[in-house]
Amino acid sequence: MNINTISKIKHGRNSRKRRWNIVTITLTVIVTLLCIAMLLLGNTIYPLNVVVKVLLGEEIKGATFAIETIRLPRMLAGLFTGFAFGIAGYIFQTMLRNPLANPNVIGVTSGSSAAAVFCIIILQSNKAVVSLASIIAGLLTTLIIYVLARGKVFSIGRLILVGIGLQAMCNAFITYVMLIGKQHDLPSAMRWLTGSLNGIKLQELPILVVSIIIFVPIIIVLSKPLSMLELGEQSAKMLGINTDLTRIVLIICAVILVAIATSVTGPIASIAFLAGPIATRLVGVGLSNSIPAGLVGAFLVLAADLVGQFAFIVKYPVGIITGIIGAPYLLFLLIQMNRRGDL
């Protein structure tokens, strides 16, 4: 390899790093701005200095309640679940090497939702039990799908079909439970079908934050092996990667993140599926895009929630907005993959 090529490669890598930095910083700034907007906007629009005062602990009549009990939890929930969905979706897509593979299509979230609805309506359990059940159910669903779809040769197609089958069952179960449920339980159970940031309390967030603090660093550490997995099973093995271990650890991290995020807001459609490809489009391939994907996820949730809250006469939950945004993209992707003959 002559000097010329080496310098070219170096140059390429440096420019990719620069681009990664620029994109990440820009995204962080945008997400921060959206967070601030979430705090400022509402039925009453408070100026920035009032918000700052409230956050610093000052009691202001009206503002304290609106900001601390309604807007702050909403903003934080959007931020963290968006981040979790985005990063987990990216992991799924990268590891299975298919942009269509995401926890919603594969059926992980529907398992979580079914467990949560069951706990809320039938068992009348408290929030902690609901979260725990939805996490366990998410992991269990993943395990079942994995076992059923394993086969002799791994096939993403089989995985998706099995996932859709399981999803159909979970959805039928949810519909049934919703039908026999009491009227006053329905609103809190509805969240498990569409995904919404309404009425989230600050006490529900610590478990999500802790899980992000634990699992995101693991994902970042494993991002190098992950990018080698992208080259394919054989190449990754030759580069000295323990492919099975890497895959299992990453899947567990991603599933736990998805399940916990789902347990807070319900399955917000399309985030896990949109964030990865958008991040890759922005940053380009070559470096690990897990952080940008998380930021894109947070951006999407916050922006969609603002749209849902203020763009129409009626307030729509965030999941409906993201569902409508996500589907055209999925169809676009299908058409594009068809052209390349990937499917």
Binding site: L100, N104, V105, L148, A149, G151, V153, S155, G157, R158, I160, L161, V162, I164, G165, L166, A168, M169, N171, A172, F173, T175, Y176, L179, I180, T194, A269, S270, I313, V314, Y316, P317, G319, I320, I321, G323, I324, G326, A327, P328, L330, L331, L334, I335, M337, N338, R339, G341, L343
Partner: protein
């Protein structure tokens, strides 16, 4: 040489006889069981005397309507499943997978909201229109590109479309709680709300659909050998496909309009029958109709027994019976053919 046109599949008569017996048994069960179980004597009394004075008689009358309605819907879904699977040449084609249900749902909600419709004979046109448009759309998208509509592409296109349409439907409903209430009960497929009116309403659609199905059957058999072979045999493939899909969508669209979305009956019936008598569509069609009707009645009876004193809607049960079949099909399928 043996005349192939009179060829009957192995043990066809025996199987047909068994299926008919099973259907009769399920009809009897459907008349007997429910939140208040009746004895056979009471059922016979109710059938023969026919005066709606006594309590038992009125129960039997209600259950007769329900059973007839279930037979119509089940048969329609069974035929529709055969047609869809042979047109798409795809073992997992089913109205629920093609997004037909969500399409019908969106149009019905639009009708309720913007055109103030609230009776079944208006629903049916909206549901049919929605079913047609969405199934054409989904099938169109998934058959782009190399290899035509593979099962995987079909499922993904259907899933994506369903997500979008469900979001739209919910979006329309949220500000209008009275529509949400109206829609909540339509949304779960059920045969409990069937009346003689709804039976007469869907009968013309079913008849037209079934007649078209029977006429296209020989050509569909040829189509199963591949597009080129079929053209070589003198089949106008484009026209046949169009007619068969039209019939399929009409059958499931009409059913969805009156009974709500009932998933997987077409898929199940077709596969069970194909397992029993092979792939000849001439025989598949009537047998699948028979099996579809039996399946729907049995699911309905089960739903009534499990959900006592209320009932478990049949749409929920068929999903639980049908989804495992989808999973088994996926597990058995060769990786290539996905």
């Amino acid at each position: 040489m043996k005349d192939r046109s009179n060829y009957l599949p192995k043990q066809f008569i025996l199987i047909a006889f068994l299926l008919i017996a099973l259907l009769l048994l399920s009809i009897i069960a459907s008349l007997m069981f429910g939140s208040r179980a009746l004895t056979i004597q009471e059922v016979i009394d109710g059938l023969i005397t026919g005066n709606s004075e006594s309590y038992e008689t009125s129960i039997v009358q209600k259950r007769i309507i329900r059973t007839v309605f279930a037979i119509c819907c089940g048969a329609a879904l069974g035929v529709s499943g055969v047609l869809m699977q042979s047109v798409t040449r795809n073992p997992i084609a089913d109205p629920s997978i093609l997004g037909v249900n969500t399409g019908a749902a969106l149009f019905v909600v639009c009708g309720m909201t913007y055109f103030n419709i609230n009776t079944a004979n208006h629903y049916i046109w909206f549901a049919l229109a929605g079913a047609m448009i969405v199934s054409v759309f989904v099938f169109g998208i998934s058959s782009l590109g190399r290899g035509g509509a593979t099962p995987l592409k079909l499922v993904l296109a259907g899933a994506a479309t369903s997500v979008a349409l469900t979001s739209l439907t919910t979006g329309i409903m949220i500000p209008r709680s009275f529509i949400m209430d109206q829609f909540r009960f339509w949304q779960v497929g059920s045969v409990g709300a069937g009346t003689w009116e709804s039976v007469t309403l869907i009968t013309p659609f079913l008849l037209i659909g079934i007649v078209i199905a029977l006429f296209t059957a020989p050509a569909l058999n040829a189509l199963a050998l591949g597009e080129d072979v079929a053209t070589g045999l003198g089949v106008k493939t484009g026209f046949i496909k169009l007619m068969a899909s039209f019939a399929a969508v009409m059958l499931c669209g009409a059913t969805t309009a009156v009974a709500g979305p009932i998933a997987f009956v077409g898929l199940l019936a077709t596969h069970v029958v194909r397992l029993l008598i092979g792939a000849d569509i001439k025989f598949l069609l009537p047998m699948s109709a028979l099996t579809g009707a039996t399946l729907l009645i049995i699911s309905d009876v089960l739903g009534r027994l499990i959900g006592r004193p209320g009932e478990l809607e049949v749409g929920v049960l068929t999903a639980f019976i049908g989804a495992p079949l989808l999973i088994i099909l996926a597990m058995k399928a060769k990786v290539r053919s996905l």
